[in-house]
C-alpha cells in the first residue's frame, strides 16, 4: 500500500468528519488527480472484471448498479453499497469479504485479499470516482398502476346488464341464451340444433353426478312427455348424493386437496378426508358460497365456530410444505406464500405469489399489498407444536375426549413397541454376527490372503463358505486391508500375505496377547478397556471397531441369513401394518390464531433476511370496495375480516370467479378461459355482460350453487348438439368460444374409472369416511420407496387416496391435476401410456370380465347381449352393422379355441365377451361426452 495514499486518506477522513458532518459523502469537490489515478489503475479494472457483468447498464441485479458513482450511493434493494470513509460499514465490503453467508459477492468466488484491500482503501479515502451517472434507478418496472387497475375490467364492480335483444326470438328459453345468441348473431353464426333426449340425459348425468345414466333412467326420460322433463331430470340429479361427490371433487381441484404432504417429506394427511367430506357435504347441502368461503378461511374465528367450521379451515393447511426445511423462518414465509397464492387463485383469480419478491409485473398489486395480507397469515398458526426429528407437523384441531386421548396413547405405545421389537431383533442378530466374526478374526485374515481386493463377491463367497465365514464381511475385510496398508496392526498382513500360514501364526499370537493383556488389566480394574501396551491397544481397537476390519453390513438382507431375514421382515411388516391400521386421534387439519402480527416488513426480493418498510394488515388496494378502511382487531389475526371482505357482494372478483368456474365445469371452458387468473395476463371474458349477469344472479339467489346449475342447464345453450354448422363455425370461431355448438368433452380421470365400474356393476357408491390406508403423519414412503398405497377400492374415485409425489397411475395418466396447485381447468391430453392402461390394467380387464359374465348370464343370444352392452355402456342401441361386427369378433376369437369337438370352450367364450367389453370401455364413444 502506498504510504502517501494512506496518509492522504486519514487526512481526508479528518477533513470530512469536520466538514461534512456525520454523513461522509463526496462533496461537489473534484477528487485529486492522484486519487483518480488510483481509481483508474486499481479500482475501475476490478469493478469491471468482477462486478459489471451483473451490475452495470441494463443488468442491475438486486437493483444495484456499480457502473456509476450515483449507483454506488443509491445502492440496491439492500440499501446503499458504500459508506464513504468507512469500509467496515459498507455493504460492498461486507459482500466481497465473504463473511456473511447470505451476502457473498461476486458469486463466482471470493476476491483475493489484495483486491479487497484496494476496495477498502478506495472507500476509506472517500470513494474518488469520475464516472457519470447512467441514471440507474435501481428499481424494476411495475405493472399497472393502482389507478389504471381500477379501470381494468376485473376490478370494476359487478354490473347489472339486461339480456340483449336478439333477432331469433324463438331459440332462447333462459335469460342466458340471449347473451350467447346475440354474440352468435353478430358473428353471423347460428346455434346448433337441440340434442336428442339420449344425448341430453347422458350429458346431464355425467355432468352433475359423474356417472353414466342407467338404461332404465334413459328409458324413463326418453318416454317422459312432460314439457318439464329436462328440468325434472336436473332436479333429480341435483338431489342425488352423487352430485356432491362430483361437484365436491371440482372444488377439491381448486383447493389442491391431497392425502399427503408431498414435497420433501411425504407424510400422510391422515385427517384430510374430513375436509374432503366437508366439501362434498357442503355441495350436497347447497351451502351458500359466501358462507363456504368464510368457513374455509376463518371458520375457527366465527362466533358460532364448531367442529364443521374448524374442519373447513383445513383448506389453509392442505398445501405442500417443505416440512424438513431447517430454516424455520423461511418455512413460515414459504407457507404463507403458498396460502396466499392458493387463496388468491381459488377465490379471486389473482396470482399473489408473484408479489412476494417484487411488485406485480403486470397486475396492479404492490408488494405492500402482499405483506399486508401476509401479516394476517403470519398471525395464523399453520404448524403444530409437535414434530418428528427435523420434520415439522402441521396444526390440527382435536375433537377427542380424555378417554379417546388415553386410548390413542395406548395405541401409540403399542406401535412403538412393535417398532422396537423389530429394531431390537436386528440389533441382537447383528451383535451375534459381530461376535462370531470377532472370534474368527484370524480366519478372516487368513482367508483374505486368498484373493485380491477387486475380487467379486462370488469368488469371495467360494473362499468364505467352506470356512464358515460371512462372505460380505470377508469382502469388506479385504477392502479394509487395502485401505490400511500402513496401519500399525495390519501392515504385517501385507508383508506376510503371500504365506497364509505366517499370517495365521502372527495374528493368532498377536490377538492372544491382546486378549491376555486385557484380561490382566481387568484383574486390576474390571472396567478396563485398554492394556498398558500401545500396539495391543491398537489391536483391540481393530478387533472391536464395529465399522472397521470386521464390519457387519448394515443392510439386513446382506448381513442376515434367510431365517433371520424372514423374521426381521415379519416384525417390520407387523409394525407397519399396526401403524397403518391404527386409529388416529379424532382431529382435523385446521388453523388457529397465533400471536397477532399487526404489521410485517416488506421482505426485499422475498428474502426473510432483508427487511424493508413495515406494512399494516390490509386488503389489496385495487380491490378495495370502500374508502372506509377496516379496523383489524388487536386480539385476532384478521382472517375473519379478510374472509368477510372477500365474501362481500361488493367484491369485484369473488362472485365472478366462482360463477365462471361453474360455467367452465359445465361447458369445458370458462367465459374467462383462464379460470384461475383474472389479471392482465389472464384471458378477457368472451361474454362480459353474461358473466356479470351470472354473478349478480348468483348473489341474488343467496350464493346458491344449485341455483346456478338450474339457470345454466335449463337453457338452449346447454341443450345444443355437439356438432353444428361446422363449415361456418370453424371459419369464424374455430375454438368455439362463442358456443355455436355444445363442446364435446373427454371424461375426467375419475369419471373414466367410475364409469367402467358402474357399467360393469362393480361400483360401491358409499359416501364419506376415512379411505387413505395410512395413519396420520405416517410416511407414505420411507427411504425404501415401497408403495403400500392400494387403489383397489371400488368406492368412487373421489375417495381414492390422492398421494402427492406418487399419484395413482390412472389419475396421473388421465390428467388429474397436480394436487399441489389450485386447478380450475384440467387438460385432456392424449398419450400412449393411456392406451397401455386401457389395454392392460387390471382395473379395466377385471371390470370387462365382470361385464362379460353379466352379458352372458342375463341374455341368451349374441344379438341381445350386444344390445345390452351398447345400452349400458353407450346409452343407445347397437346398429345392425355394429351387432354384426361384434358377433364376428366373438366368433373369431372363440373359433381359435375350437378343438376337434364342436363345442366352444366356456372360458374362451367368456374371454371373447370380456375383450369385446374392454373394447367398448376403450372406445372414444365411452370416454367422450357429446
Amino acid at each position: 500500500m502506498n504510504e502517501s495514499l494512506q496518509l492522504r486518506a486519514s487526512l481526508l477522513i479528518a477533513a470530512c468528519l469536520i466538514g461534512c458532518g456525520s454523513s461522509v459523502a463526496w462533496s461537489g469537490e473534484a477528487p485529486s488527480q492522484e486519487d483518480l489515478a488510483f481509481f483508474e489503475k486499481d479500482v475501475r479494472p476490478l469493478l469491471v472484471k468482477h462486478c459489471y457483468e451483473c451490475h452495470s447498464g441494463n443488468e442491475t441485479d438486486g437493483g444495484l448498479a456499480l457502473d456509476s458513482r450515483d449507483g454506488l450511493f443509491t445502492g440496491g434493494d439492500s440499501g446503499t453499497a458504500i459508506t464513504s470513509g468507512d469500509p467496515d460499514d459498507s455493504l460492498l465490503i461486507e459482500a466481497v469479504s465473504y463473511k456473511n453467508h447470505d451476502l457473498q459477492m461476486p458469486p463466482s468466488g471470493r476476491l483475493d485479499d489484495r483486491e479487497i484491500k484496494t476496495l477498502k482503501q478506495w472507500i476509506k479515502i472517500g470513494v474518488p470516482d469520475p464516472r457519470e451517472a447512467s441514471t440507474p434507478t435501481g428499481h424494476e418496472p411495475n405493472g399497472m398502476s393502482v389507478e389504471d387497475g381500477r379501470s381494468f375490467w376485473a376490478f370494476q364492480s359487478v354490473g347489472n346488464p339486461s339480456p340483449p335483444t336478439v333477432a331469433d326470438k324463438d331459440w332462447g328459453q333462459s335469460p342466458i341464451d340471449a347473451f350467447v345468441l346475440a354474440k352468435l348473431e353478430s358473428a353471423n353464426l347460428s346455434p346448433a340444433t337441440k340434442a336428442d333426449r339420449r344425448t341430453l340425459i347422458r350429458r346431464a348425468t355425467f355432468d352433475l353426478t359423474g356417472l353414466p345414466p342407467t338404461p332404465a333412467d334413459i328409458d324413463a326420460f326418453v318416454s317422459d312427455d312432460s314439457p318439464n322433463a329436462f328440468a325434472d331430470l336436473v332436479e333429480r340429479l341435483l338431489a342425488s348424493p352423487q352430485y356432491g361427490v362430483r361437484w365436491g371433487r371440482h372444488w377439491l381441484d381448486v383447493a389442491r386437496y391431497a392425502d399427503s404432504n408431498g414435497l420433501d417429506e411425504n407424510l400422510a394427511f391422515g385427517n384430510a378426508w374430513r375436509y374432503r367430506d366437508y366439501v362434498i357435504d357442503a355441495l350436497n347441502n347447497d351451502k351458500p358460497f359466501d358462507r363456504f368461503l368464510i368457513e374455509q378461511i376463518a371458520g375457527d374465528l366465527l362466533p358460532e365456530s364448531n367442529q364443521e367450521t374448524k374442519t373447513a379451515t383445513g383448506y389453509l393447511v392442505l398445501g405442500a410444505k417443505v416440512l424438513a426445511e431447517p430454516d424455520r423462518e423461511k418455512l413460515v414465509m414459504d407457507t404463507i406464500d403458498e396460502q396466499l397464492d392458493a387463496m388468491g387463485k381459488a377465490f379471486l383469480g389473482m396470482t399473489f405469489g408473484c408479489v412476494r419478491c417484487h411488485n406485480h409485473k403486470f397486475d396492479p398489486i404492490q408488494q405492500s399489498d402482499y405483506y399486508a395480507l401476509a401479516a394476517i397469515f403470519k398471525g395464523t398458526k399453520t404448524f403444530g407444536d409437535s414434530k418428528q426429528g427435523a420434520i415439522m407437523h402441521w396444526n390440527e384441531h382435536t375433537f377427542a375426549n380424555d378417554e379417546q386421548t388415553a386410548q390413542i396413547a395406548k395405541v401409540d405405545a403399542s406401535i412403538a413397541e412393535k417398532k422396537k421389537a423389530a429394531s431390537s431383533f436386528k440389533n441382537k442378530v447383528i451383535a451375534e454376527i459381530r461376535a462370531s466374526a470377532r472370534d474368527a478374526a484370524v480366519e478372516y485374515l487368513v482367508a483374505a490372503t486368498q484373493f485380491k481386493s477387486t475380487a467379486s463377491l462370488n469368488e469371495v463367497a467360494s473362499i468364505a463358505e467352506p470356512h464358515g465365514l460371512h462372505p460380505r464381511i470377508l469382502h469388506h475385510c479385504r477392502l479394509h486391508l487395502e485401505y490400511h496398508r500402513s496401519d500399525a496392526v495390519l501392515v504385517k498382513w501385507h508383508d506376510l500375505a503371500s504365506q497364509s500360514q505366517s499370517v495365521r501364526v502372527h495374528y493368532t499370537r498377536l490377538f492372544a496377547d491382546a486378549t491376555t493383556a486385557l484380561a490382566s488389566a481387568r484383574k486390576k480394574d474390571p472396567k478396563a478397556k485398554r492394556t498398558g501396551d500401545k500396539l495391543l491397544n491398537e489391536v483391540l481397537a481393530v478387533l472391536d471397531d464395529p465399522s472397521g476390519l470386521l464390519a457387519v453390513p448394515a443392510k439386513p438382507e446382506f448381513a442376515f441369513n434367510a431365517d433371520q431375514l424372514r423374521r426381521y421382515d415379519e416384525l417390520m411388516e407387523a409394525a407397519r401394518i399396526a401403524e397403518s391400521n391404527a386409529d388416529d386421534l379424532p382431529s382435523a387439519m385446521s388453523v388457529t390464531d397465533a400471536t397477532v402480527v399487526s404489521e410485517l416488513p416488506i421482505h426485499i426480493r422475498g428474502s426473510h433476511r432483508n427487511f424493508g418498510e413495515p406494512v399494516a394488515r390490509e386488503f389489496p388496494e385495487v380491490m378495495r370496495t370502500s374508502s372506509v378502511r377496516p379496523i383489524f382487531p388487536a386480539n385476532q389475526s384478521g382472517r375473519l375480516q379478510l374472509a368477510r371482505w372477500m365474501a362481500s357482494t361488493q367484491h369485484p372478483l369473488t362472485a365472478r370467479v366462482y360463477v365462471n368456474r361453474i360455467w367452465s365445469w359445465h361447458f369445458g371452458r370458462g367465459i374467462v378461459g383462464s379460470t384461475d387468473n383474472f389479471g392482465l395476463l389472464g384471458e378477457r371474458p368472451s361474454h362480459p355482460e353474461l358473466l356479470d349477469y351470472l354473478a349478480r344472479y348468483f348473489m341474488q339467489s343467496g350464493w346458491s350453487t344449485k341455483e346456478m346449475h338450474r339457470l345454466l342447464m335449463n337453457s338452449s345453450v346447454y341443450q345444443m348438439e355437439s356438432t353444428g354448422n361446422e363449415e361456418s363455425g370453424i371459419a369464424v370461431d374455430p375454438e368455439n368460444h362463442l358456443l355455436w355448438k355444445f363442446p364435446m368433452q373427454r371424461l375426467d380421470a375419475e369419471l373414466i374409472r367410475d364409469s367402467i365400474l358402474a357399467v360393469s356393476g362393480r361400483l360401491d357408491a358409499t359416501l364419506g369416511g376415512k379411505t387413505v390406508p395410512l395413519r396420520n403423519r405416517q410416511f407414505v414412503f420411507n427411504h425404501t420407496s415401497v408403495d403400500h398405497t392400494k387403489y383397489d377400492s371400488l368406492r368412487r374415485a373421489a375417495y381414492l387416496p390422492v398421494i402427492r409425489n406418487n399419484l395413482y397411475s390412472f389419475f396421473a395418466q388421465f390428467d388429474f391435476p397436480d394436487p399441489t396447485m389450485p386447478t380450475g381447468t384440467r387438460s385432456a391430453t392424449v398419450v400412449a401410456p393411456q392406451a397401455l392402461l386401457m389395454m392392460n390394467a387390471d382395473l379395466v380387464a377385471d371390470s370387462a370380465d365382470e361385464f362379460a359374465t353379466q352379458l352372458i348370464s342375463s341374455r341368451s343370444t349374441d344379438a341381445e347381449r350386444i344390445d345390452l352392452a351398447y345400452q349400458t355402456a353407450f346409452g343407445r342401441a347397437a346398429t345392425k352393422d355394429e351387432t354384426n361386427r361384434a358377433i364376428h369378433f366373438v366368433d373369431d376369437l372363440t373359433s381359435r379355441s375350437l378343438t376337434r369337438s364342436d363345442s366352444v370352450d366356456a372360458n374362451a367364450l367368456h374371454q371373447a365377451w370380456s375383450l369385446l367389453s374392454q373394447s367398448l370401455f376403450a372406445s372414444n364413444e365411452f370416454i367422450f361426452i357429446r
Binding site: A320, S456, H475, L681, S785, S809, D818
Partner: protein, 471 residues
C-alpha cells in the same frame, strides 16, 4: 390441407401429446409451418439454439450426498488439522450439530496423464480420470434431502416445477418414436418422488417414464402396464382392430376432432411400445464380456451394473435423457455416522459399473456426444457429525461430467482449504443446469414456457454457463 384439418392438427399438437411419437409430428408441423401460416406450438422450440456438443445425457445420481472430500476433492489441510475446530464460521443454518474437522479415512492418488487425484474409493473410475471433468465448486441452497433433490432435479426447492429431463425433452424431443424421450431407472419415490422427473406444467409428453423404483431390484424394473398377462399379442391385435373400427365409426358421427384422431394413433404407438420396451430391457442379449464389464456377474455390483447397462441400451436407441439412481434402501450415500463403512459399501457397488459404462460408451463411439453426469444432491461437511460421520453440505461439493463436449482430465472450481464452501469459480445448481442445457445446444434463457401468465425457465432468473469446461 384445409382449415379444419389444420385446426385439428394444431389443436392436437397443443393439447394432446402423441405420447412417444411426437418427433414425427414435429417434422410434420415443421413442414406445415413452412407451407402455411406459422403455428404456435410447444414443439416449435426444438430447433437447437446453439451448436450442440452432446446429443443425449445420462445422470448417474448418487442419492444421499456422497462426500467430495473423500472422493474427488482432496484436502491436505483437513488431514493435517484432523480434530481441530473449523477455522471459520459455519453456515447460519446447518442440518445437524457440527463438531471438529474429520480427516478422510481414504488416501488420494493421482491418475492418468492429467494427474487428477481420486481417492481409494474409486479405483476403477480413476482409470478413466482423463475423461472426467471434475466440478469441485458446486453449491446449492437447501441442506435437507427433499429440498436439495428437488433443487437438483427441478431447479426449485419450493414449488413444483418441471424437471431437468422434461425441459430437455421439451427442448429437443427424442430420436426414437417407440420409446419415451426421458426414462428414469429405479428412481427414489422419497424426497420429491415423481416431481423429480415430472413435467409439472410442461406438456405431458415431457414427463419422465419411470422404470421400476428404488424399492425394486433393477432386474425387476418395468414400465407400468407394459404387458398384458391375460392374452397373447395376436389376440390383442385383433382387439385393437376392433377398437380402431369403432373409433372410426364414432369419428364419422362426432365430427373431426384432434383428440379423437390422436387416440387412434395412441393405441398403435402403445402396441408398438409393448414390443420395443422388453427388447431394450433384455440384458441377456448382451455378451458375457459386456455383462462382466458392468459387474453384472458380481452380486455386489450387479444391481447398479444392470441399471448402467440398461441406460446404455436406452441411450443408443435415441432416448434423450436417462437417469440412473443409486439409492440403497438401507444405506444411501448419507453417512451421518459410520462414514467409512457406508461409503466403502456404496463406492464398491457403483465403482466398477460406472467404469464399465464409461468404457463401453467410449468403445461404441457414444461417449463423444453423450454427456455423463455423476453426483448427489449435495456433498458432506469436512466437520464431523458425531464422531465418525459427516453432515449434509450444500455449500460446496463435487460432481463430475464426462464425454459430451467437456474437457477431460480437468478440474473446475474449488472449495476452500477444508472443503466446506465453494470459493473459486463457484457453480450454483442453476449454473450447472445452464451449462448442461448449453452442452445440449440450448440457451437456458431462451428455453422458456409460458404458464399462468409468466415465462418459466429451468434456471428461473439465474444461471451462468461455465464455458471454461467446454472441450
Amino acid at each position: 390441407m384445409n382449415t379444419h384439418e389444420l385446426q385439428s392438427r394444431r389443436r392436437l399438437l397443443k393439447t394432446s401429446a402423441i405420447g412417444f411419437g411426437h418427433l414425427a409430428l414435429s417434422s410434420l408441423l415443421h413442414e406445415q409451418a413452412q407451407a402455411e401460416a406459422p403455428v404456435e406450438s410447444p414443439l416449435a422450440a426444438k430447433i437447437p439454439h446453439i451448436a450442440a456438443r452432446a446429443k443425449r445425457i445420462v445422470f448417474l445420481f448418487m442419492k444421499g450426498g456422497p462426500s467430495h472430500v473423500d472422493t474427488f476433492d482432496p484436502k491436505p489441510l483437513l488431514t493435517r488439522d484432523d480434530g481441530k475446530p473449523l477455522p471459520f464460521d459455519l453456515p447460519r443454518v446447518t442440518f445437524a450439530k457440527q463438531s471438529n474437522l474429520l480427516k478422510s479415512p481414504w488416501k488420494f492418488k493421482q491418475f492418468g496423464q492429467s494427474g487428477l487425484p481420486v481417492s481409494e474409493l474409486f479405483p476403477h473410475v480413476a482409470k478413466h480420470v482423463d475423461d472426467l471433468c471434475v466440478l469441485r465448486s458446486l453449491h446449492g441452497t437447501n441442506p435437507a434431502h427433499g429440498g436439495a433433490l428437488l433443487k437438483m432435479h427441478t431447479g426449485s426447492d419450493q414449488f413444483v416445477r418441471p424437471s431437468l429431463g422434461s425441459w430437455v425433452t421439451y427442448g429437443l424431443g427424442t430420436e426414437n418414436q417407440n420409446l419415451p424421450a426421458f426414462v428414469t431407472i429405479c428412481p427414489t419415490l422419497a424426497h420429491g418422488g415423481v416431481n423429480n422427473w415430472g413435467s409439472a406444467f410442461l406438456p405431458a409428453y415431457c414427463q419422465g417414464t419411470p422404470i421400476g423404483n428404488a424399492s425394486l431390484s433393477a432386474s425387476k424394473a418395468k414400465v407400468k402396464h407394459i404387458r398384458n398377462e391375460r392374452i397373447d399379442p395376436q389376440m390383442q391385435r385383433r382387439q385393437l382392430d376392433l377398437i380402431a373400427a369403432m373409433n372410426r365409426d364414432h369419428l364419422s358421427v362426432a365430427g373431426r376432432n384432434a383428440a379423437l384422431e390422436g387416440r387412434l394413433n395412441a393405441f398403435e404407438l402403445a402396441f408398438r411400445m409393448q414390443s420395443t420396451m422388453p427388447e431394450v430391457q433384455d440384458l441377456e442379449s448382451e455378451t458375457e464380456l459386456t455383462q462382466r464389464m458392468y459387474g453384472i456377474d458380481d452380486p455386489i455390483t450387479e444391481d447398479f451394473g444392470r441399471q448402467c447397462l440398461l441406460a446404455r441400451r436406452f441411450l443408443e436407441r435415441g432416448v434423450r435423457f436417462v437417469q440412473v439412481t443409486h439409492s440403497d434402501s438401507e444405506v444411501q450415500w448419507d453417512q451421518h455416522s459410520n462414514l467409512y463403512k457406508g461409503h466403502t459399501k456404496n463406492a464398491v457397488e457403483v465403482d466398477k459399473p460406472i467404469a464399465g459404462f464409461l468404457a463401453d460408451l467410449k468403445a461404441r463411439g457414444l461417449l463423444k456426444d453423450t454427456l455423463v453426469l455423476w453426483g448427489g444432491e449435495f456433498g458432506r461437511t469436512p466437520t464431523a457429525q458425531g464422531n465418525n460421520g459427516r453432515d449434509h453440505n450444500p455449500h460446496g461439493f463435487t460432481m463430475w461430467m464426462a464425454g459430451g463436449g467437456v474437457k477431460g482430465g480437468y478440474a473446475y472450481g474449488a472449495t476452500d482449504e477444508y472443503g466446506y464452501y465453494a470459493v473459486e469459480n463457484k457453480m450454483h445448481v442453476h449454473d450447472l443446469h445452464a451449462t448442461i442445457l448449453h452442452l445440449l445446444g440450448m440457451d437456458h434463457e431462451r428455453l422458456t414456457y409460458r404458464y399462468a401468465g409468466r415465462d418459466f425457465r429451468l434456471t428461473d432468473v439465474a444461471g451462468v454457463v461455465a464455458d471454461d469446461i467446454f472441450a
